[in-house]
Each structure stands twice: as structure tokens, then as C-alpha cells.
Symmetry: C2
Subunit: 219 residues, 2 copies
DNA sequence: ATTAATTTTTAGACAAATCTAAAAAAAAGA
DNA sequence: TCTTTTTTTTAGATTTGTCTAAAAATTAAT
């Protein structure tokens, strides 16, 4: 079955909101899609009719298992294209989201399968997020928030929680990218800030909020 | 300025029809777009308001110079993606048109510029059609119809006029592709058919209609 | 337990792109 | 030239996705 661009954007955003809370509510989806709650309600009805959504009036909603499969497929396309844009076309990692937002809607199965092979079946996108395989299986990425890492450890950046241009700008300033090696020097309990050393650059301090949004793995 | 997918499809198809006849008429565009003449008339009005079209009721229409620029840009995107699909993803040349038909509408300037560089600024798409550069300039491809080639000459296939699945199926059968070397053995005046030798395969005969649709260049 | 605030849904309208059926204009034929 | 046929346009309807304003349901506060 094939879905419109609008339907796909709704499905994908419901999926993302579900990662944070089991049930999704109308207002937060409207905010995410930059649209009005009334428009969301209209679309929810359509998605329910197509069996993509479990939805009870006024009670919130979640994707059905069918809807979940569709969502994961869109996420797969989005992240594969992001990987392509960065590794093949040389885009900066903070510039690819908007373009992938369009490319993800070209839903030819063979295209995505061949793109995946061309890219050598990447496990994570340029933001460190896992790329589901053709069967919808997410590769397990064992990562933890930098706010939880023990002192003196060396870690490697694997993903960024909040992907707003604002945080990406800040990370660029700190010379932090996916794959960057960081040493945790010291954690200050007063405000949760952390002194770190990035590569060969002088040690610096990041706020707790930033630390929480940087995901890393050991070794 | 940005255009909807529907608008872009109209603009591109008007452009292609103009290659064959100066003025375009409603019915042929409707046929090309697989839609109804009434729908075409509606869209023509919109395109005229946006200064993309020179249009006089009942008199036919042509792209304005602004419309022409937009069209060439869409053609550029379409052909670059086709080239990508064949050379990088390994698609057969007769399978890429439908996919490029969607990809062409992702209209990020930087994307196309970087894609072009990644592909090493290709001059022709997998069907031998020229790819306009970023300024809209078409590279000159000196090719002629195989129906006009002199006997005994060796030629190289550069493009195919009619790109229907039907002719592509036939060409595959003859082992003819873009870049294939063909020797013209003999032309039969009775029906305009031509005996040719394709690579190492046994000599065979193609109809005049096929010959007219195969474009080649010398040496 | 009422009242007030928030969230969600309905009602009704609108723009884009399409359609069918009918009218108008142009082209072709007698 | 005067019909007839073909082409093109209008009129009016439909579908998709959106909106505003108002009503209904839920949740929070007094
Ligand atoms: Mn999108
Ligand atoms: Mn991403
Ligand atoms: Mn298209
Ligand atoms: Mn082509």
C-alpha cells in the first residue's frame, strides 16, 4: 500500500513521539508537524480507517503494528539518505535533515534496497541514530548519555539526542562530531557541568543539558 | 520560487513537447500527462499567472523564458538522478525513469550541485540525452539517427528517441545499449530495414522504425 | 463538588488539483 | 459558404489537506 507525503509525515512523527511516551496526544503532534490540532484530528481519523492507528477519541493514540512497520520503513529511508548525503555528497551532518525529509518519500523498494547496498549497509545515520534493516530490525547501538559516564573514561560520540540547529552549532564550536573521541576529566556536582577534553583541543566545560544530549560509547 | 509537483510535471512536459513543435496544444499535453484536457486548461491559467507560460485562449501555448529556465532545471535534476541510479546503484537503464520522475522534484540547489560533482559532471543521461549544466546550458551531442548512417560505417549508440518499455525491451533483445558499437552492413530499400552487426553477436536486421529511434555517433 | 483552564473534537470554509458534462471556438469538409 | 467535427474552455462537483471559530470532553484548581 502507498501513502501520501502528508500521511507519511504524520506516521513518522507519531513514531518518534512514541519513543518518548507510550501514548501520543494531539497537541504535541500538531506542534511537531507545525500544524493545528484540528488538522491532526482530521488526519487521525483517516489513519485509523487505514488501520495504521489505534485511536480513541479524547484518549490519545498510538501506531498499530501495521502503522509501526510503515513508520520504520520511512525512518529507514530517511536515515539512509542522510548517510548518503554526508558520506557521498559531502554535506555537513547538520545540513542533511531537511533534504532527507523530502527524499524519504520516494518509496520505491528496489531503490532503497540498492541504496542500502551501495552504502554498504550502514548501521547508523550521521547523527548516530540506528538505521533499521529491510525487515524493520533496528541494530542495537549500546550508547549512554554523557551525563552518565564515569570520570577519566575515554568515550566516542555516537549520536546526539536533540538535533536542533542550535545544539549542532554548539557542538561544531566544541569540535564535537559523531566519532569524536572525548575524555571525561571531571564532573562538577554544583550544576552538573563536565570538564572534557576533545581530541587535541584545550579542555573545556559543557553544561549538564549538553551532556545529556550527547550519546557515547566506550572504547 | 518554488513549484508544486503537479506544476513541475506540467512545465517539464510542455518543455518536451516544445522540442517537437513550437506551439503546444491542450490535447497532446493532456495525453502526455495522462490527464483530461479540462484539467490542463485549469493548470495553464495558473502557470500563466505565475509568468511561466505564454498562453492565448484557443491559440496554443509555449513556455516563457522564465518557464523555460524552470523546465531545464527539472530536466537537469531528472537526468542527473537517472545517471546516479544506473552508474552508482546498478539499475538497468530502462528501469530508472519512473524513479527519477519522483526524485526530480526534490529541488534543493545544493543537493543537485553536489550530486553533479559526485557524478563527475556527466554530459548525458543513461538514455544518451544531454544533461544541462547549472546555468541551463545543454552540452552539444552530435548524434544522428541510425536510419541516416552510411553503410559499412561503425557507429556507437548514444541515445534512444522513443523511450517506451516496448523499444527498450527490443533493444535489450538485440544486445543494444548506450555505448554499444554497431557496424552497418547493408540497407534494404524495400522497407528501409538495415542489417547490422552488434559486437560479437551474429548479424541481424532491424526495422526502419527501430533504426529511426536509435541515435549514434561516429568513431 | 463546582468552577476554571486546557485539550480535543466538530462545523464549516478554503485552496489545489482533479473530474464530467456541456458550451464555445476553431478547423475541416461538403 | 455553411455544416459537421474536433479542440478547447467553462461550469460545477469532488478529494485531500488545511484552517478558524466554536462546542464538547477532560483535567486542574479552588
Ligand atoms: Mn518528510
Ligand atoms: Mn538523522
Ligand atoms: Mn515528475
Ligand atoms: Mn532519460
Amino acid at each position: 500500500m502507498n501513502f501520501s507525503i502528508a500521511e507519511e509525515n504524520y506516521i513518522k512523527n507519531i513514531y518518534h513521539l512514541q519513543q518518548q511516551s507510550e501514548l501520543v496526544n494531539t497537541n504535541s503532534l500538531a506542534y511537531e508537524l507545525q500544524t493545528k490540532p484540528a488538522s491532526v484530528t482530521d488526519m487521525l481519523k483517516k489513519l485509523q480507517i487505514k488501520n495504521l492507528l489505534d485511536y480513541e477519541k479524547y484518549k490519545g493514540f498510538r501506531l498499530s503494528s501495521k502503522g509501526n512497520k510503515v513508520a520504520i520503513n520511512i525512518v529507514r529511508r530517511h536515515r539512509l539518505w542522510e548517510f548518503f548525503l554526508v558520506t557521498k555528497l559531502g554535506f555537513e551532518w547538520d545540513k542533511v535533515h531537511a533534504i532527507a525529509e523530502e527524499l524519504e518519500h520516494v518509496s520505491n523498494q528496489e531503490l532503497i534496497q540498492k541504496l542500502d547496498r551501495f552504502l554498504n549497509h550502514p548501521q547508523t545515520d550521521p547523527h548516530g541514530d540506528p538505521i533499521p534493516d529491510g525487515n524493520g530490525k533496528m541494530p542495537v547501538i549500546h550508547q549512554l548519555s554523557m551525563a552518565d559516564v564515569v570520570e577519566k573514561k575515554k568515550v566516542i560520540v555516537s549520536s546526539v539526542g536533540n538535533q536542533s540547529p542550535a545544539i549542532l552549532e554548539l557542538l561544531n564550536h566544541y569540535h564535537i562530531n559523531i566519532g569524536t573521541e572525548i575524555k571525561i576529566n571531571q564532573r562538577f556536582s554544583f550544576d552538573g557541568s563536565i570538564e572534557i577534553k576533545v581530541g587535541k583541543y584545550a579542555a573545556c566545560i559543557i553544561s549538564e543539558l549538553v551532556a545529556k544530549n550527547i550519546f557515547v560509547y566506550h572504547e
